[in-house]
Symmetry: C2
Subunit: 344 residues, 2 copies
DNA sequence: TTGTAAGCGTTATCAA
DNA sequence: TTGATAACGCTTACAA
């Protein structure tokens, strides 16, 4: 009866050793693909393991190796599309690795500032991926560097330290989009900013201003609206923009969620997109294909960035060589929401 | 110099005991909020811990307690909005608990069938939340039950076992939506099915048929289209529906993503929504508010379901009493995409 | 109220 | 090619 009672309990390495007539060290060797195990011995061990439904205990492994194989993804939650892309990129890189991903959705960068390291510590993380704008918080970066916690920043703007970095050239992309609108004859263009704390936002705004200036077009400051990267904030900004009698002929929003909001605001105001007003977004998130017309936007390879960031993080953790600053390609996607201005 | 070298290494309970002039057991007591520690002693311990930047080693804790405090969320990836709602619900419930959430996005239910238990084992999970349709895979459920792995199923349809369950009444909700369309005068109504493997789909279809029958309206089988719960599949279904000369006056899609696709298909076909055709969705995901017009839909409390499921799972793990089958309330949300039929 | 000693299930050392 | 045995950092009896 005593042996029978064991059934509920998870088999351990000792059980496998006993059943296979070997030692725990040999079983360990088999399960860690170490050399110098006779094929016959290996077979016996695996057989016993299968019979006992043995799985190595992660906690014990972690303890003795001094490693958790846990990495953390820290992000704010601007749009679900973006978040899922981020997660999927990281998870896909982790596939076939023994590492596991822990999620840390943060209310906002300020709330975790100074607390992030502690969170990582208590969770036993071995490394961290910081999605924007968390990678631009000086306190956080300082803490991590000081604690020698490996981390990689996605799309940061500030060069706060020597930690690896993955991103696109937001400024250049915004310039490209603005040039696109200018080439369609638009001169009176509104810009909807995202969260002022996201440095991507100021880069995009700068790109917009730069392109306008280069083309000799005036930027009407009353047409620079403040949003927060959410659909709702874009809707509100759009309503403000279209309430004015001096309407712009085009609106460039700093991300797709806001651009979708602008489109809805336009329709509320009885305006046709792109007939009366062209609307452009940024990110190429799912939402840009779901609105009607579909949004002209900048494809930002969120998935690839998360993938590359995770890849760099693993290299960092395992002390393999890596590229300190990876810059991925963006792409202008012209779709139905922008067209030649009617006033031409 | 030897003491100095220690700086890199993480402090252990022994270090804290030494520095505070106590024993490791006392330090352990302090960090586990056990009673019978003199306030003065507690202070000294905490002081030493702070000075050494001590954080308990999770692996060691897990090992000795025989617990990992890891729970897994398994889901397919129909729509990012749904996934994020799910995650947020689970994470919010876990907030302030020592449990951590591990993500397991699955390609499809069949791919993990038979492999899910092993995944859970090697990850050291203590419990599992199964999002639809994973909770309806007999093999998976059988494996988990047999292995005595605690799990909770979200929105399952099949009563495969006695594991706790959280969901809404999909059939009743679909009936309500159909009644809504009928009450607007629609009789020729198309239905876009979701993934045939999701049991929620058949329940919604049954609800649709039931309501139509009860109202004495005929269901034209050629208007029952097959989709896969994705935006693209809804778009394709919509194109097929509107290509026919005998157009319906309303389309009821089994989820919002597909309904959004139908709306785009309608616009492609030069049809006004809801002027020429009413479109209804299901789920109240973000996308339903992003299309224009906004979608009439069924609010499915995804967040609440994940929250409740996680809550039940913790109860299960900790052997606390729990409600075996939680049924949450849905809600019909009438928005701009449905209106009285013109033919009336 | 505090401390000693014995594990928890692995991997690493080193001898066989 | 294998196996005793000692860690790893913590919690849990059990004493004191």
């Amino acid at each position: 009866m005593e042996a029978g009672d064991k059934r509920q309990v998870r088999a351990t390495i000792t059980d496998v050793a006993a059943r296979s007539g070997t030692s725990i060290k040999t079983v360990s060797r088999v399960f860690n693909d170490e050399p110098f195990v006779r094929p016959e011995t290996r077979r016996r061990v695996l057989e016993a393991a299968a019979a006992l439904d043995y799985h190595p205990n992660m906690a014990a492994r972690s303890l003795v190796r001094g490693r958790s194989f846990l990495i953390g993804l820290f992000y704010e939650n601007p749009s679900p599309n973006y978040v899922v892309d981020l997660q999927t990129g990281a998870l896909d890189r982790l596939h076939d690795e023994r590492y596991r991903l822990l999620l840390f959705p943060c209310e906002n960068a300020r709330a975790v500032s100074g607390r992030l390291l502690q969170l990582a510590r208590t969770s036993g993380l071995e490394g961290i991926v910081l999605a924007p704008p968390l990678g631009d918080d000086p306190q956080t970066v300082r803490d991590l560097v000081e604690a020698r916690m490996p981390f990689v920043r996605i799309a940061p703007t500030t060069a706060l330290d020597a930690s690896p970095t993955v991103g696109i050239d937001d400024g250049a992309a915004a310039r490209e989009m603005t040039d696109h609108l200018l080439s369609l004859g638009h001169r009176r263009i509104a810009f909807v900013q995202g969260d002022p704390d996201h440095p991507s936002n100021s880069q995009r705004l700068d790109g917009f201003r730069g392109a306008m200036q280069a083309a000799g077009a005036t930027v009407d400051e009353r047409l620079i609206e403040q949003g927060r990267y959410t659909f709702e904030s874009g809707l509100a900004a759009g309503r403000r923009i279209f309430a004015d009698r001096q309407r712009p002929t085009a609106v460039f929003a700093a991300n797709d969620d806001m651009a979708a909001g602008v489109v809805v605001a336009a329709k509320e105001a009885g305006l046709d997109v792109p007939g009366h007003v062209s609307v452009a977004g940024f990110d190429d998130s799912l939402i840009s294909r779901v609105t009607w017309p579909q949004l002209t936007t900048i494809h930002q390879p969120t998935y690839d960035m998360a993938h590359a960031a995770t890849d760099a993080l693993l290299a960092l953790i395992e002390k393999r060589p890596l590229t300190p600053a990876i810059r991925l390609q963006h792409q202008l996607l012209v779709r139905g929401s922008t067209t030649r201005t009617a006033s031409l």
